[in-house]
């Protein structure tokens, strides 16, 4: 494992972190070569579906850095980055991937050393974890793809979009919602949407029965059936044919 060189993708905000990385360069501060930077205008622009997609495609680690809280060029874009990262963390956990493969931190334009330290630390950490199992284990890859699909879906996005407002300002009834309450709701919805997207992905490869899906996912067939009902309601899954005693479902193309 010593010669394992992890592939790491980094989303850097243009104004602080990217400038910090430049400063590291100007200062000739050395750090490992594993990082590949994608410049974005703001860390808040990092749609959780993007890192999940890269993890599914074999990235060993994904880091996101933005301006320090309060320093955001776009005022509070990094706060949104944090909210979205919360979803990313949940989905990574749901997919069964080590939490150490993702990271969110703040680097200012003057923190060249800090940037290098973060990259070095994260590279070591990921190296320690070894290669992304998604490359060799189709199950993990499927999970990550399901996580990506879930992150691209309306329900999770709507909730994350409302998180800041709900937990800081309260809801439309003027009732307060604690972070814990929100997290509880979120956890449930993440579980549901992750499983549903996973089912949908499996079915898009090969039509399957409820029992088949249960065997494939290790989830009780009864719960699978509930999800299939919901997926049919959404028009994502439809009956394909009946094989023996088992109706077999297929995924519908969704634009």
């Amino acid at each position: 494992m010593t010669d394992f060189e992890p592939k790491i993708i980094g989303f850097l905000c243009n104004w602080c972190s990217y400038a910090g990385a430049d400063l590291a360069g100007v200062s000739r501060i050395q750090y490992p070569t594993n990082l590949r930077i994608i410049r974005v205008m703001c860390s808040g622009r990092v749609d959780p579906a993007l890192p999940l997609g890269f993890l599914a495609e074999g990235a060993d680690g994904v880091m996101i850095t933005g301006c320090h809280i309060g320093d955001c060029h776009y005022i509070d874009g990094n706060l949104h980055a944090k909210r979205k990262y919360g979803l990313l963390e949940r989905l990574v956990a749901k997919a069964g991937l080590e939490p150490g493969r993702i990271m969110l931190d703040w680097v200012s334009a003057s923190e060249g050393q800090r940037f290098a330290d973060i990259v070095t630390g994260f590279t070591d950490q990921v190296r320690e974890l070894g290669p992304n199992p998604a490359v060799t284990d189709p199950c993990v890859k499927l999970n990550l793809m399901a996580a990506k699909a879930a992150a691209a879906e309306y329900r999770l996005r709507a909730l994350v979009g409302k998180e800041e407002k709900l937990v800081t300002e309260g809801n439309v009834y003027g009732e307060e919602m604690t972070q814990e309450e929100f997290d509880r709701i979120m956890e449930e919805v993440v579980e549901t949407e992750f499983t549903r997207n996973k089912i949908r992905l499996i079915l898009s490869v090969k039509p399957m029965s409820v029992k088949g899906l249960s065997a494939e996912t290790g989830i009780d067939s009864r719960i699978i059936l509930d999800h299939v009902v919901a997926l049919r309601q959404r028009g994502w899954v439809d009956l394909h044919e009946v094989q023996g005693n088992s109706p077999v479902y297929r995924a519908m193309e969704v634009q």
Partner: protein, 561 residues
């Protein structure tokens, strides 16, 4: 751009900065083999005029429609290469950079092989994104050369005059029936002890005389529409509506003073007054002749749970008045009961020194054991515990003067809603950045100055007012504003109008159209992309940083060279 991408890749040696660690020819060679790359070449300095010319020649010769430069950081060099592309007839947004210096050669100086591998990878990523780039337009908007100043106090008057001096028309909206604001109520100003009227009256006179400033007294802002360059502001003057068309807005609405009802006997014990009322007594003259003993109490209503902020001016003001009282009648006993004497700045500290010298008694009190004021035989009686002496003093006084804090205007809430700019937790207006953009709001074309922003003294207000006026003058002087092309765009077919983006956009760049769907005002959008990353329907695309582009970049990074 429907044509097939034809990409040119230009790899910079940057002297030895890159070339010394990265095998540039190898990278060029590698780039040639990437999809849609029709041309690649190295150069010693890509950014030299020679290098730029080479790019332009290649664009023509090889009919390039995308350009990738692998060199240093786009933060400094992108504009240069972009204009080179533009000169060669390409849209500047079909240009992409690979930062193989700051983020590669310089940081991997001891691992040339890996650095070369990484450089290839960075080029591959840049090419992957370049293949998807599309030309973007930078829309231009007109800026009306007219400013609106809200508030006719010292800040408002100053900024109005400053704008007029720059040659712009100004509308000045004041809610009272006369100009002047808080200064009308003050007698003298620290530290020069000039009469407040000597400061404010000339300003009022000049404003009145100016043909460029239109004053609207008894007026309030009722409605604000539009964005930088073309705000339509509805005002109401004694119930009569009027529409003002302006290009920029300065908020100079000032502040108010707390009336400290119930604090230290105010309103209950005779001869307990505020510093503002003391100023009035000064102005009226002779009213203080019988006052032998006078106690001033600082922080009367500020720096507490309700108002945690420091009102900034009170300490200096109290000292100014104390010195004045003692100088008027050296036999007077004047006490200042304080928590922390915050006479910041050299000049003000000197005043503190002066005060001590002239016999003003400075007594610190304990926040946990506040002074008490009760009615005494001849005047208010003050009991104060001094933690330094560890004993309680009882002072029989003729008058108690409370340093009541500056508080935000009541109408700040309404105005902030109209302008869609934020207030801080103390309900003062909040600037875009506390350090770097103290006079701007996040919303372009709207600025803040004076005590509307926070408690401050006259000189500070004046300099802020001038600063705000010059900030406002910049776009108006240009007359036109090229807005960035890197903005968000909504796909109406996908949008459900859930409003998430509208809530998240700090620039108020997104509104609902007549069908209830989101629409981006490009002129206002700053291109951060938060809306797009949050849109539940994924209906928002961020120009130049589309999901497809970022995805292509990342996937290219993961591909083995």
């Amino acid at each position: 751009m429907s044509e097939e991408p034809r990409i040119g890749v230009f790899v910079c040696h940057c002297g030895i900065n890159i070339g010394g660690y990265v095998d540039v020819p190898d990278v060029v060679e590698y780039a040639t083999g990437l999809p849609d790359v029709v041309y690649a070449e190295p150069n010693l300095y890509m950014c030299s005029s020679d290098g730029l010319q080479k790019i332009q020649e290649a664009i023509k010769k090889y009919e390039l429609n995308r350009v990738v430069v692998a060199s240093c950081t786009p933060r400094t060099h992108e504009p240069l290469f972009q204009s080179a592309c533009e000169e060669a007839g390409l849209n500047k947004y079909v240009f992409e950079m690979a930062n193989i210096r700051d983020q590669c050669s310089w940081v991997h100086m001891h691992e040339p092989e890996k650095a070369t591998q990484k450089a290839k990878s960075l080029v591959r990523m840049a090419v992957a994104k370049a293949r998807l780039l599309v030309p973007e337009e930078e829309p231009e908007i007109d800026i009306r050369p007219t400013g609106l100043v809200i508030g006719g106090g010292v800040s408002g008057l100053t900024s109005a005059l400053s704008l007029a001096d720059q040659g712009f028309k100004v509308h000045l909206v004041e809610k009272e029936d006369r100009l002047g604001g808080t200064l009308l109520k003050l007698d003298t100003l620290f530290s020069s002890n000039v009469k407040a009227s000597e400061v404010i009256n000339p300003l009022i006179k000049r404003v009145k005389a100016s043909t460029d400033v239109t004053v609207h007294l008894d007026s309030r802002v009722a409605d604000v529409k539009g964005f930088i360059g073309s705000f339509d502001v509805g005002i109401e003057t004694r119930g009569e509506p009027e529409m003002l068309s302006v290009g920029t807005i300065i908020v100079a609405t000032g502040a108010d003073y707390l009336s400290p009802e119930g604090l230290y006997g105010y309103g209950q014990v005779d001869n307990v007054v505020t510093q503002m009322e003391l100023e009035q007594l000064f102005k009226e003259g002779g009213r203080l002749d019988g006052v032998k003993t006078l106690v001033m109490i600082q922080c009367a209503g500020s720096r507490n749970e309700e108002r945690p902020y420091c009102s900034r001016v009170c300490c200096t003001e109290a000292i100014k008045n104390a010195i004045k009282l003692v100088k008027e009648n050296p036999k007077r006993d004047v006490y200042i009961l304080y928590r922390d004497l915050q006479t910041y700045g050299i000049e003000f500290s000197m005043m503190e020194y002066d005060a001590k010298k002239s016999g003003v008694k400075l007594v610190m009190y304990d926040k946990e054991r506040l002074p008490e004021v009760t009615g005494g035989k001849r005047g208010p009686m003050v009991r104060v515990y001094s933690p330094l002496l560890d004993e309680e003093l009882t002072i029989e006084t003729d008058m108690v003067v409370l340093s009541a804090p500056i508080i935000p205007n009541e109408d700040n809430e309404a105005l902030s809603k109209h302008l869609k700019v934020p207030l801080n937790s103390d309900r003062f207006f909040m600037e875009a950045h506390v350090k770097l953009r103290p006079l701007d709001f996040a919303t372009d074309g709207i600025y803040v100055c004076g005590t509307a922003h926070s408690p401050k003294e006259v000189a500070e207000s004046v300099s802020q007012a001038r600063g705000a006026a010059s900030r406002a003058g910049i776009p108006m002087a240009k007359g036109r504003l090229k807005t960035a092309a890197i903005t968000s765009v909504v796909d109406e077919a996908k949008c459900s109008g859930c409003g998430t983006c509208i809530e998240l956009c700090v620039y108020n760049a997104i509104t609902k159209n007549e069908r209830g769907l989101a629409q981006v005002t490009s002129a206002v959008c700053k291109g951060c992309g938060v809306c797009g990353a949050s849109c539940p329907e994924r209906a928002i695309t961020m120009r130049h940083f589309t999901n497809e582009e970022l995805e292509a970049q990342g996937l290219a990074a993961l591909k083995e060279a």
